[in-house]
Symmetry: C2
Amino acid sequence: MERTVAQTARMAREASRELSAATIEQRNRALDAMAAALNKNRAYLVAENQLDLEAARADQLDAPLMSRLELNDKKISQLIDGLQALIRLPDPLNRTLMARELTPGLDLYRVSCPIGVLGIVFESRPDALVQIASLALKSGNAVLLKGGREAAKTNAALFKVLDRAVRETGIPEGWAGLLQTREDVNAMLSLEQDIDLLIPRGSNAFVRYIMEHTHILVMGHADGLCHTYVDAGADLDMAVSVTVDAKTQAYAVCNATETLLVHRDIAEKFLPAAAEALQAKGVRLLGDEAAQRIIGCEPASDEDWATEYLAPVLSIKVVSGVEEASAHINRYGSHHTDAIITNDELAKQYFISHVDSAGVYVNCSTRFADGYRYGFGAEVGISTSRLHARGPVGLEGLCTYKYILLGSGQTVAGTLDGTYPFTHRDLDCGKA
Amino acid sequence: MERTVAQTARMAREASRELSAATIEQRNRALDAMAAALNKNRAYLVAENQLDLEAARADQLDAPLMSRLELNDKKISQLIDGLQALIRLPDPLNRTLMARELTPGLDLYRVSCPIGVLGIVFESRPDALVQIASLALKSGNAVLLKGGREAAKTNAALFKVLDRAVRETGIPEGWAGLLQTREDVNAMLSLEQDIDLLIPRGSNAFVRYIMEHTHILVMGHADGLCHTYVDAGADLDMAVSVTVDAKTQAYAVCNATETLLVHRDIAEKFLPAAAEALQAKGVRLLGDEAAQRIIGCEPASDEDWATEYLAPVLSIKVVSGVEEASAHINRYGSHHTDAIITNDELAKQYFISHVDSAGVYVNCSTRFADGYRYGFGAEVGISTSRLHARGPVGLEGLCTYKYILLGSGQTVAGTLDGTYPFTHRDLDCGKA
């Protein structure tokens, strides 16, 4: 009765062929059925979640983890609201990205389409299962889901409820598959024939492990080591306010600033003010020799420049200018999000063109790196890869494109003998 | 004196930081210097190429290979013309792909930028070195180049001439590196820290080997197993003419049709006419039982459906309709380019939405799958991967993007307390 991971992936591939042809009305109807099924099965879902919570209490999970693991009536209502919001988002598929007449009567279109089959491994929040499955469905992708071990019963219940509701709307069996164990995740890694993209969410070590053990493209980030660089041309008040937000608005997040770089010409003025504001929030400061001299903080070691604290700790380095700051960021950073605070146009342009990160910010907090804040409506993760999708990834990052060439009998021989001369005339994308 | 591959890649990474900031004027000036240097060093280049040709003659290389290996005055002139055409192409960098106000005074831009460092392995044509190095330079990427063993002396000479000319225009040392041996290629495969994208060109086995031995993203195609499906709703004359072009316009190319699928309702009429036209061109026909019965051809085995002949051979299968044709293509094809010949709107729509290929064509020859024919001006290869770039890849496929967020002191805390309400208002992309 139990299917192997390879069989589940093969079924997902088959289902993805039909899903890619499902209209936006069909996909939205399935999302609506998801919402209705969650609403109807509240009692069952909460009861199954209680079993996970009891086991977690016996295992003495800490309070933040317990709170993330809990699926209560309020969280179910939020999930239903999220599904309704997703239904309202425009269709990411069948968008004409390019249109060009190659020769009269032969028109080329680049049109967005689903990637195919996604493999997504997520953390202990069971609400993640609903969010990911719904994003996959909206974008026409089949999906293999593997959640946290602690949420196994909740995830199984959610999957049962959602899968049945979605299939009753005519979406083919296999559109989603639930994996159970760590071995299942390992089995996914070699299924490059039937899985097109892996999105691992979790600890740095876990994401790195996935990246190193598969030939499937991995989207996501192992580290989030972000920098804020306060240039000599910075407005002092703005620099303090943005630095405090970038470090303290949240700690255990990938877009928090972990290292503060400061131009030596402004360090004497800026650092005492920044240190006072940061220490008032309980942030521990580590600095290079110059920073220690100015604010008397603890020493930072070379290792600190490469450390993502995810905690109220900030390393500080005084630099000679935007060149040294950019080089430091490219060397030690994780190509996630890095900010410069300056009113100097040259420094700003240098920073933008030289810093090799998914997000390069001027005069604002690194904490803005987020799909919701970017207005993407929904986010599947943040990518520090350079290819396919970079930075916060929404529905668009779950799509690729195909070229559609519509002709009326054109041959390549005819382009050589003059029957079909190339015109390469761009067409209006709305025409497709 | 000799650098290791890892050192060459590290230098390329360093150079890529400067290259990404080079203006289009600087990059075009370097391309112009390349053209001038080729023109000035014609005698030297042809002499070095003679040494490769002599060695190849001693090794009894066949005539087509010898002809590809040769670098003569005419080919040098064509390379110079190609460089001038590349200079005229618009800048693929610094294009604003999206612009959005997040909150008043905080504007988000998605802007195209170079990928970073490319590793490209190419076949024996030494002109490929010039084409690839110039595409990399135009798109602001550093590049590691490895050409065919047979062209070693020509490639070394070309590299010396081009590298000097480019660096004299101020492009940093290390923007390009020349690798020498097969072991150098193997060394590249583990340098994911300093190489962002591999583009292997060559035999199926070679491309597959690269894909299976690296965690770096590989762009390209191992196979080009393209199909033409003649639907019941096809115009007979068009079907014959397009099929003949798709099979015979060239043989040893990835976009030639290798399998012909025919709707059973049109097979009796279409196949005799197609067979006559194809056999007149010297094409050997293999068919399933139905095809054998109609045109008396040789039998095709299951293996034929998975074979890229690259030769005047065509396998033929009679199918029950567009569903079976699409399923056959998705199962046996290489997701490269597949065509339907039909005037039936439903069959056309089914084929477009179900066939999972980079190019899905209606009523035209699969041979159109080519960067020049698509109007991309220049082509680095054709990708059968689903992610990042699909189909013919021009300058645009050598670019990625970064998000640039320009603010005036905005904090995320301020979005929560109402100081900075999100507006998510799309801006004109021309504004950046």
